[in-house]
Amino acid sequence: MDGLLLLSLTVLVPVLFGIISYLVPGYNLKKYAVILCALVLSVASLLILYNGPQNLTVESINIGMSLPVSTIIIALDFLLLLVFLYFGYKDREYKVLGLAVLQLALLAYLELFVAGGEEAGITFVIDDLSIVMCLIVSLIGSLILLYSIGYMKGDKNVSSFFLIMMVFLGDMNALIFANDLTWLFFFWEGTTLCSFLLIRHYRDEPSIKASDRALWMNLLGGIALVCGIILIEMMYNTRFLSELFTAQATMPGALSFLPAAAIILPFAFMAVGAFTKSALMPFNSWLTGAMVAPTPVSALLHSSTMVNAGVYMLIRIAPLILIFGGGLLSTVITIVGGFSFMFCALLALSQTDSKRILAYSTISYLGLIAMCTGINTWLAITAAVALLVFHAVSKGLLFLCVGEITHIIGSRDIEQMQGLIAKAPLVTVITVIGLISLMAPPFGIFVGKWLAFQSASTFTQIGWSLVAIFFIIFGSIFSVFYYSRWAGKLLATKPAETAPPAHHDWYMEIPLIILAAGIFVSVALTTIFFTQLIDLPDIYGQEPGGLVVGEVLRSAFGGFSPLMFLILFIVILLIPILIIRVPKTSLTPTYSCGTGKEPDIGGGYFETLIGESKLLKYLNPIGILLLAILFLAVLL
Amino acid sequence: MLKILANIGKNLISKPYTSNYPFTPYQHFPGVRADVTFDGTKCILCGLCQRSCPAECILIHKEQEQIEYLNTQCIRCGYCVRVCPTNAISQNEVYTKPSRQRLTVYTKVTNENAPVIKKRMAAEAAKKAAAEKPATAGTGPAKPAGEKKVDEKKTSA
């Protein structure tokens, strides 16, 4: 099928449906527009998958109309920055104002002085990685859209909510496919705007504050990105990502005071941009602050769109770093990622708010992905892509579950979720599946961790193997800690507790069921996924398909069969579930030392030891120090 | 730590201190205070022991001329031995085995010097002399001395 059509289906159609749903009156009509949009988006992404990789040039976009698309994009870009300026002025947020002005200046510099002419190039690239990303965005995004129909019922700003959600999805798809860096920058800033608007959805004090924080941090990332783009254009004389693989690096005269190794400086800037978007360690506060938004927004931000853009960028530039000899830069990215992985997991341990736990765990897993891109071997990049997919499925599911649970019990506190299985069995079981899928073998995250562990255990590629291993081990075990505690709380019932008749809102529950099934399907299809859908640049020398031997993933270091273990896992849990019968006569209260009192269960979050107020004091400076080291590693 | 290591080494080669209890019985020291036995030939049924017993395990049935001793209720304090005016009570060195039921020991008093018996004998003699009829032997359901019997009624307690 024509690439352009598919592109417009994934990018323009959501925007179009968004505008339609904004304009039509009444919740029912909006609902149908949203459902239609979700369907079209899913089908379009599947069609893209079916169609396979292809390239699109700017000419092909111009076909039929003699619109100067590039110019329009640049104009829109400036408009976007002016919008940021407006919001900064409106909220008296001077950080936003300053950063927006700075960015405006840099962008103007890029467009007026650096831009290497209007030479033709591939504007959009549909390759395996972007197909995978598109599948994540479109499928999970569509499910979240469906879910938000149920969730946002009765909200007064629902029209703008759906509009922004759908624009967000379209924008994200465009960002994934964009090959032209100036275009990419526009879509990048577009996600910033959308997330900003979504976070301040409720228009109250905390959400405005959180959205402003998200805005200025992302603007900081935008500045890093635009710096990176300027430097790329100066040093490599191209503005197309795909052409960078073959580009000749020359140090421009204006920058001749830099050492020769500084040729990878633009990638360091882009990595910092990616860090802000993925909310890695020094920038983590915007993502945790974004929890004030409605749950579908959190789900969207965490699983499929916003934060994935950052690690997506890292995966994109990882081979370039390898080509241009940025071994030290890779090591620092490993350390930054590993640092976020371990310490955000530790921070999540001290939280009671379920959405904050999920937020921290998202950051920690993004850290793991970033770490894999830092390790930068074919095994590690495979692990990164696998983790990206599996994490999106599980995390999207968990956020939606939390939203549903919030509707049922009116609280996000995991202490309040004690014994939820008696009240809402379906959603609880699905939540537990989601939680287990994030910590236990043989689910996807484990496959990713297993690959990451293997790739980190080589001393040749990265010098800091032991440190990387250390981060992986501790991060994993901390996450096991808080997930199993949460899962246990959900399952803790009193003896002989009976469920009240459940109320089902199918708009919310069908996406949950689909995603829960998706977890199992994605694990079962791991081998196919590895052979068919991950395509690494030649520089890595080996394809992920080389891992697959029959149904087994077999690297040089070890083997593991996800399908077999999935079956074993299901059998292990299914046998007791089916066999065990609890006769009413043998039910008994728990042991409470003979007092017969029902114990209160809760607490134990080590707030005094590892609470946010304790740790962030030290972690934020260390994060900033690591960023400084990132640049030092490039320059020295 | 080293001292403890040496100690456990010593323990390992020495004979275990514990014994296989029901199969190798515990050897009491001489002078242990255990079950109380009543000498029916010395008792005068004065009832001092009954009044002095802190555990209230001795019952003197004057009419039936016998002593009821609740073995499992006895605390082996030996106070009855101390107060007995005729040294009819003695404490031996044998413990009764643990039991699921209450053990009650009845002792028939045959001491002719006991006031109650004296009185009865006198009365009987008087009766005999008066009526010249054959006398009945003993009164009530007297049990032989020293025999342990299970009190069926109280087993549920």
Binding site: W450, F459, I473, I477, F481, P495, F557, S586, G604 | P16
Partner: protein
């Protein structure tokens, strides 16, 4: 004719037989442990087959159940331990085995959490803290194994240095073995690190609420665990059966003796000690293999 040298015997028949024998061996080991501990304490002690009597008796007991969830997890715990023992015997990937063994602990923890009982809850928390303590050390030891043998596969341990083909892990990773000895009390639930099942503090920890046959199943899982842990240590000298069994026996005796000469420590003390000593041992050993160049990328 299948002879003793036939790989089929050593690859399939032997592991299968061992998997069936594992609970019996584990139970006997616990029996020996109890007898020996009693002798070290100057007691007579129970007969060696007492653990089996106990399990049999548990299976004859009446069930007292709180809810279904924790029973499901008890069976899942047993099955996972059996699975990881099987994987170990059938020479699977060492990393996967370690994680599967960790999964069994996760099931136990979930079981403890899902009964809403005071001591189960605290016990599960402690079980997690114990996992937090020993799992990093175990994984780092596995990492060292991988560095020396060049692969996470257990098969690689037999033939990791191609020219010599006989060098045991013990010669290159002696301190890693010591680190394994260090976490042995946690895995075998013995003093000084038996904090999750400290009956003086929290009754029986996560297994407090189990009765009857489900407690029996948990006990059987414990038999498997003992076997698993010792067999894991046996991997350090696979070239000679006598030395291999000797090594396992040494580890077993070591755990008993340590159990008898130490008091139980607190959680914070346990974490501090194990991390400091364990990481030190591992780093020194890593430095040793890096300096001597006995590692494979």
């Amino acid at each position: 004719m299948i002879t003793l040298d036939d790989p089929i015997i050593w690859k399939i028949a032997f592991p299968a037989v061992m998997l069936i024998l594992a609970p019996i061996i584990g139970g006997l080991l616990i029996g020996i442990d109890r007898k020996l501990t009693a002798r070290l304490q100057n007691r007579a002690g129970p007969p060696i087959v007492q653990p089996f009597y106990d399990v049999l008796k548990l299976f004859g007991k009446e069930d007292k159940i709180v809810n279904k969830t924790y029973l499901v997890f008890a069976v899942a715990y047993l099955l996972t331990v059996v699975l990881s023992t099987g994987l170990l015997l059938f020479h699977y990937d060492l990393l996967v085995i370690t994680f599967m063994f960790g999964l069994s602990f996760i099931f136990l923890v979930l079981a403890g959490y899902s009964v809403r009982s005071q001591f189960s809850y605290v016990g599960s928390n402690r079980e997690l803290l114990q996992m937090l303590t020993y799992e990093p050390i175990l994984l780092l030891v596995v990492f060292l194994d991988r560095l020396v043998t060049g692969s996470f596969q257990i098969d690689a341990i037999w033939s990791f240095t191609e020219p010599a083909k006989t060098e045991p892990l013990l010669y290159t990773l002696p301190l890693a073995l010591l680190a394994l000895f260090l976490i042995l009390p946690i895995q075998l639930r013995k003093s000084p690190y038996d904090i999750a099942e400290a009956h003086q503090e929290i009754a029986q920890g996560p297994v407090t609420e189990y009765t009857g046959k489900f407690l029996g199943l948990v006990t059987i899982a414990h038999f498997y665990e003992v076997f698993f842990v010792l067999w894991f240590i046996g991997l350090y000298f696979v070239q000679n059966w006598a030395v291999r069994i000797g090594l396992m026996a040494l580890a077993f005796l070591f755990s008993i003796v340590i159990d008898n000469v130490t008091a139980r420590l607190r959680v914070d003390q346990m974490i501090r000690q194990v991390y400091i000593i364990g990481l030190l041992l591992i780093i020194v050993n890593l430095a040793y293999i890096l300096i001597t160049g006995k590692w494979i990328a």
